[in-house]
Symmetry: C2
Subunit: 346 residues, 2 copies
Amino acid sequence: MPIVALDLLGGDGAPDVVADAAASLLREQEPISLILVGPEEQARDLLAARGLTGGRLAGGDPTGGPLSGGPLSGGCIALAHASRAVRMDEDPLRVLREDADASVSVAARLVAKGSADAWVSVGHTGAAVAAAVLELGRIPGMSRPALAVVVPGVAGRVVLLDAGAAPDATPDLLRQFAMVGHAYAEGLGAVDPAVGLLTIGSEDGKGDLLRRSAHELLRDSLIAAGIRYAGPVEGHDVALGERAQVIVTDGFTGNVVLKALEGAVQWAAVRMGAAYGDIGPARGVVRETATSEFAGGMLLGVQGVTVIGHGAGSAEEIAACVRLAARAADAGLARRTSEALAGGRS
Amino acid sequence: MPIVALDLLGGDGAPDVVADAAASLLREQEPISLILVGPEEQARDLLAARGLTGGRLAGGDPTGGPLSGGPLSGGCIALAHASRAVRMDEDPLRVLREDADASVSVAARLVAKGSADAWVSVGHTGAAVAAAVLELGRIPGMSRPALAVVVPGVAGRVVLLDAGAAPDATPDLLRQFAMVGHAYAEGLGAVDPAVGLLTIGSEDGKGDLLRRSAHELLRDSLIAAGIRYAGPVEGHDVALGERAQVIVTDGFTGNVVLKALEGAVQWAAVRMGAAYGDIGPARGVVRETATSEFAGGMLLGVQGVTVIGHGAGSAEEIAACVRLAARAADAGLARRTSEALAGGRS
């Protein structure tokens, strides 16, 4: 049973919404053990208010030596102390350097030390990415990690990356994203997924400077690695999912697209709900999507399973992130992406 | 009554679908006169097959001297000869330099010479932009024109620009887009519209290098021009429309976002249609959106009204582009944007 460390302090509704997510996962007896990472007294109170108890992780200070044993067993919850969150208006690198006990650092460190198999935060994305890099380390051959989200496209799942970890990219970084994104899609069960480069216009040579430089490198690297290259794809291909099962872009574009899709789906619920005279079923579609794999971004390119969810996520969405993390840990995702990158290097 | 020149040869379904659009506009007796721009014999045959006739523009060769008079009168159609389209796989600048009679050049030239008040193409976007710049000229203070689309947001209309004319942008170009986009929104009837900078994360200082450089310039320039600056906005704000009525971005991001929205709306129709057990009303919403103002992009920053529509657009969508062009000509759009940029220059 995978052990997932959950950042109690991340997200707009933290810590209450995160505690709600933990409680619902435990009540539903999902085959996941949880380590709740946050101020110990507060965590204990939040659990008590939900009729739960949690034991402190054995091994004492989770920021220190290796942790082992502890009270974890099927569906159990443990606590690991952390002092503070990284606020949205703070520079994450500065905070993480100054305070070793920030919740994202403690959570990532639990994975680095082997006390947890995966970790989840729905807080400050930049802070979670920085903590993952600092505590877990990048996998060899990966310059910067990428956040991969799974979009439930009309024709099937689409892995879109980077969704916001690296706002500025280079052609070689896009090549790395293609390799790890392909491995992730395979890990999720896709058979021979094709990789597309998100651009404007589907002809070769279209796009901005970055895309025009990246196209040939991507094509040659993917062909050399035995991966299908779908070539240039466009914005609509993200939600349609016909032309590529992995779509590669820089973190700025990916984040804007992901949020644009969310806005469009809300728009559609309002307009289509009105057209049918009942918004209920349309809202159901929005909710179902938000609480599927789509809920969380998987950080690819670090040595451990890291899931980063929406700051505004509900308890249901946070629980979906934890399930995604557990599944990825079971599937040996970190090892799989490392191998992909090693195999795909020219 | 505005006179709109329509590129018969542009678009995936050209020339038949364009001829269908012209026929439907004339049959519905809209207060628009049309000049159909394409090979004269072919145009005559297409009109005849639809039970229509068209007169050749008086003044002879439309590529030559000024055209005036002619057979135009309420709801009438005239023909202006053009030799060829710019194909999607061609370099538009090379074609336009080598052949003065490409349909986009002839159509734009009709506006430059005063024979038409606006022109429309649903063909090669790059070719239409190049023809507009070469034939009409840029307005003073505008480095590159921007394609502005109107997104029917939940809270009201949102003008999104650039949707694909300038894939690579600078901070100063984004400032120019903000000025002309604001003028366009006002021309469409928005009262004191706020301008937002599309980025990731809504805190100041977030985003990629371009956005981080552009934020202060945009803020200072807009404040100096008496325009409200909504600050950084995110992808979901495009379809929601609460935080800004004008959203500024580079042409790469804008085009990807616009197409992502289109894909998401199609996705929603499939999923929500299934949830209601009847896809009909959902498809109706998609169709209504595609044939509204959303159908066409307005090219801002050139000295004449230029509308560029989807290559895959239906006759209904092309007709919507023509209506948009006619309305913009009536509203004196080109003059209005020129004044905005002149007034907004620091």
